[in-house]
Each structure stands twice: as C-alpha cells, then as structure tokens.
C-alpha cells in the first residue's frame, strides 16, 4: 500500500481530515526548506507537498510564482530537489508529494523521472498542466513504478470527465476550489461546496477528495472539514510565512500555524 493511502486509512479511523501542506523546495534556500518541513511535521501536517519550481507556472498565483522564481534564482536544480527529499526521508516517513509542471518530467521522459523520484522517496505527483487526454503515457509509467498520480478537478469539470479523471487518479483527488490560480482567497463560494459534494459523490469513497487553492485560515479548514473534504491543502499561506519570517524562526512559526490548522481537522 502506498504511504498516501495508508495515511488516509489511518486518519479515517481517527475521524480526521488530512492536512496537506505545500511549500516550494529551495525557497528561499535548501536549509530553510528543511526547517519548514520539520515545522510542518512538528505541527502535525499529514502529507507534505513539495513544489519543484518551473519557469512558467501558469496555474500559480503571485505568491507561488514569486517562490518559484526565487528558488530558481537561488540555483535549485532537480538534483538539489532529490537531495532535499532524501534528507527528509532520513528523518521521517511522512507521505511526500511532488508538485511541478509536465515539462520537468517530459524532459527526462516520464519513466526515468518518475523512477528517480520514487527512489528519492516521493510517493505521488501533481502536475497542474497534465490534462487527462494527454496522460496515458504518464499514468502508465507511474503505475509501473508504483507512484501515485494525483489529478486535479475543477468546479466546472463535467460528470463524465470527472469519472474519467477518477479512473486515472491514485492517492487522492485534488479539487481546485476556485476559478483561478493558487493563492489566498477571501471567502468560500457556494459553487465550491456544491462541487465538493458532486466530486465526493463521483469518488464514491474509493478515492479521497482534497480541496486546495485559496485555503489559508482555520476557518477555511473548518468549513471544508465540515463539508466532507477528505483533505485540505494549504500552500500560499505557508509561503507567505516563510517570506515574512527570519530563517531561524521559520520552523517554529510554521509549526505553530500548522498546529492551529490541524486542530480543526477532526470531524
């Protein structure tokens, strides 16, 4: 069983929604990334989503764009990323998901990249620009290697398409909460809660449904937990903390913030 699946099973028995925390690898440095990861684990995050920067992140809003650019400017290469993952793996068995864009994989071939990622200790992949129509080769390679393929769905994804996406998804399904890019939103829309309900129905309990994009406060977490989300994904809010915190305090601040969010995940 994959680490991700095992985690969701454990949480189910504890009646808890998973808190998935995103940070950008190499932003602003490898050292701070490791500090932030320790903070996330300390604060009780269930799954860590590590971003690998891409030069053209079309699904990301200003905060994660900035983190991508900074990470690339500080010299983050794929080797550095895998080395960060290996370091985390020495300390923890927490499920690790890699979020990046299709070209990063395509460049080395899906099979080669995914096997390298697996070896380093990555459990699942999120590619926001990988449409289901184009995913055959990617999913095949991931299956072969035993890597979870986490697809995204949107509030406007139609029923038949949703079914098709669920078929190719493993680990969890990532429901994008808003029409828009990643980043902090001010309110939770009714269309999002409706979409969550529809997505959960389509998933039929076979695959957990996580909600992300614009989830940043305890209140947001609470609302999605009470609306039946199997996971909540918090990203830009973590990046903002890292941006505004001196390096030596990142671990503690991230831990405090994560703990507050995690406290709201029991249902």
């Amino acid at each position: 069983m994959s680490r991700i699946k095992e985690k969701f099973n454990q949480l189910k028995t504890k009646k808890e929604t998973a808190l998935i925390s995103y940070i950008m690898a190499g932003y602003p440095s490898e050292k701070t990334t490791l500090a932030a990861v320790r903070g996330l684990i300390q604060g009780g995050s269930d799954i860590i989503e590590l971003g690998f920067p891409f030069s053209d992140p079309i699904a990301d809003g200003p905060t994660i764009q900035m983190a991508s650019t900074e990470s690339l400017n500080s010299g983050t290469k794929i080797e550095n990323f895998f080395s960060i993952v290996k370091k985390i793996r020495k300390e923890s068995n927490i499920p690790l998901v890699l979020m990046t864009y299709t070209n990063i994989l395509y460049n080395q071939t899906y099979l080669k990249f995914i096997s390298r990622a697996k070896q380093a200790g990555i459990d699942g992949l999120i590619l926001p620009d990988m449409a289901i129509e184009e995913s055959k080769e990617y999913v095949k390679a991931a299956k072969k290697i035993g890597m979870d393929t986490i697809f995204l769905v949107s509030p406007n994804t139609e029923k038949d398409r949703l079914k098709q996406i669920i078929k190719s998804t493993s680990g969890f399904l990532y429901m994008v909460a808003v029409f828009g890019t990643t980043g902090v939103q001010t309110k939770i829309h009714k269309y999002t809660l409706d979409a969550l309900k529809n997505t959960k129905n389509a998933a039929k309990g076979k695959i957990p449904v996580g909600v992300g994009f614009g989830v940043s406060t305890e209140k947001d977490v609470q609302k999605y937990v009470s609306s039946g989300a199997d996971a909540v994904i918090v990203g830009s809010a973590n990046i903002k903390i890292i941006e505004n915190t001196p390096a030596n305090k990142v671990q503690a601040r991230i831990a405090t913030f994560t703990k507050k969010l995690k406290n709201r995940t029991r249902y």
């Binding site: 030069s55 053209d56 992140p57 699904a59 764009q65 395509y106 184009e134 890019t181």
Partner: protein, 398 residues
Amino acid sequence: MKIGIPKDGRFGEFGGKYIPETLAPAIEELEKNYLKIRNDKNFKKELGRLLIDYAGRPTPIYFARNLTKTIGGAKIYLKREDLLHGGAHKINNTLGQALLAKRMGKKRIIAETGAGQHGVATAMACASLGLKAEIYMGYVDTLRQKQNVFRMELLGAKVHAVKSGSKTLKDAINEAMRDWITNVDSTYYLLGSAVGPHPYPLMVRDFQAVIGVEIKKQMKKIPNAVIACVGGGSNAIGTFYPLIDTNAKIIGIEAGGKGLKTKLHSAPLTAGKKGVLHGMMTYLMQDKDGQISETHSISAGLDYPGVGPEHAFLKDENRVEYKAVTDDEVIDAFLILTRTEGIIPALESAHAIAHAIKISKKMKKTESIVVTLSGRGDKDIDIVKEYLAKNVKNKRKI
C-alpha cells in the same frame, strides 16, 4: 503531410492540449464552436467581407525588381502582408477569432502580444466588432514597443504590463492564461500565433492560410522557394500550408539572435528540444532540467522559446527546412530592402528577407522566390537606430 483537422489535436506527435483542468470545458466549447463555423457559409462570407473591406485583402504580390537586380540571382517576390490594416498579417487571425468570440456570446477578449502587432490587431478587431479588449504584454516589450502600447490604448484596449519571469512574450502568454483560468466563463482568449493548446494552432493556421492561398493564385506558376519568418509561426504556417503539396521548397526562418552558438537566440526548431509549454508539445528552448530558457531576438515578435506544433511536425517530416539568421544579418537585410525598394520591413519579416538574399544568389535567374513580408517596420525604427549607433562598423551604416 497536409493535415486538415488534427486527430486528438496532434500534428504527428506534436500539439495536444496540456492545460489546467479549469480550462478544459472552455477549450472543449471553443473546439466545438470552431469546428461548427469552420465550414459555415455565413461565417465565411462575413469574415471574407471584413478581410476585403476592413483589412484590405487581397494583398499584392510584388516583384522586387531592384532587390533582385542588386542580389543578382533568382527573382524575389514579396507577399505584401505589411500593407494590411494595422501593418501586419495579424489582422487575418484577429478578425476571424473576434467574429467567432462574438458568435459564442463572449464580450470580454484577452490577448497576449510580443511586439504589439497582435495586440494592436486585436484592439482593432474588437473596436470594430464592439468587444472589450485587454492585452497582456511583457514589461520589456512595452518599453521597446512604446508606440504600439499607445496605439492599443487609443483603440480602447487596456494594456497590462507583465513583470513576471523574463517579462517578454512567453510571460505575457502565462499571464493571459492565468486570466483565462480566473474568468473562464465570460472571457475569450484570442491567441495571436499558431501555438497553444488545440484547437488554437489549427484555428490560427486556417485564418492565416489566406496568405498562401493568394500566393498560389497570384503567382503564374508555383515558386521554386517560399520563405517566411517563424516565431510562434502564424504567418509562416499561413504561407506554407496551402503550398505543402506542391513542389515548392519551403523554408522557415527563426531568430538566430547573436548566433546559435551563444544562448542568445530564439530558434527552438534549429537548436531546441521537445517539450511541453503553453498547452502544447513542441520544440522548445530549455535547459537540462526542463526550465524554459530566456530567449533573445532583435525582433520582439520572434522572441519566444517555443513554436507552433505544426511546424515541429513539418520539420520532423522533412517537408519544411528551418534555418536561423542572426541579428546582424537581419539589420543588413532590413537596410538593403529599405534602400533598394523603399519598403521598410518589420524586423521579424527582415529575417525572411535575409535568408532570401542568401539563397537567391545560388539560384538561377529564371527561378523565383516568394517571401512573406509579414509586417511593416515603422514600429522598429528606434531599435534599428539604436543598433546602428552601437555598430558603427556595419557596412551599410547611414
């Protein structure tokens, strides 16, 4: 080799639709609507009228007698897209897509622009059809093409200067896509080149194919060679597509910048590697991790790390030859054409002229070359002036 409607949006292995899920319904709606109007007589009639009365089609084929004499080889003909309304071939596509958007009931149009020609052509089409236009333009490009920024504003469009990434065309596309993701219901994304997810490369090619169709009609016989410049590749694919199944030698010219041995160029077909960007699989300029490289070209319109998927296909099929010329060669060609014919070409189009000059020398006097002069060069005179001031050794210095 001539592909009508690409199956699954693929030209051979190239193309496809690598898009965020939020855009999937919009792309599907677009594809459905486009395929419907593609053979719709009324749509064709309406667009045909606009192309004649508003844009100024057909554009002439001009025998460049003086240029031919100066070079001393094959006869060089110019397809004068520079004479179109707005000064470039871009209006062929913007009228087509704006008309489609209107039929789809979309009132808000967004577009990206590099040199500003597509932005201007979008602003014009939207003004004439009563649509609201917002244009994304790289900050660097807004500085080097100030006049076009003001032209767009005069035409009633809102211009957003994009300050992310390399602040050029690719970043303008990123930002336009982010806008589309956010406002997917109300907004039509009017892409300016034969790039992006399916059906854009098909649609843009179809709207630009009028160039090649006219060339075929206007030339007494099929030319020995046809040349066009390639950035995203819309004027080139429009020129080439109707001629694919003829004997003409077809050549696409990329921006060689400061030379292919430097990293300062925009030539993915001649020096790139396959990859995925902006919704398509194609040749890209990228580093060994798959990060998209920053590109360079003296012409803002060719300053793009990718290329339309149909060009990638035609390259791999060996039907079209793709070459690059350097900034220096471009300036030289710009000056030669200006002096011999009294035609100031866009720096983009001067790439094609530069290659025509190179090969015509080696061809017989009875042979012919058609060069698509995709736009006029008024927008570029400051860049040329600056270049000449810095490069005092240039033979043709004024």
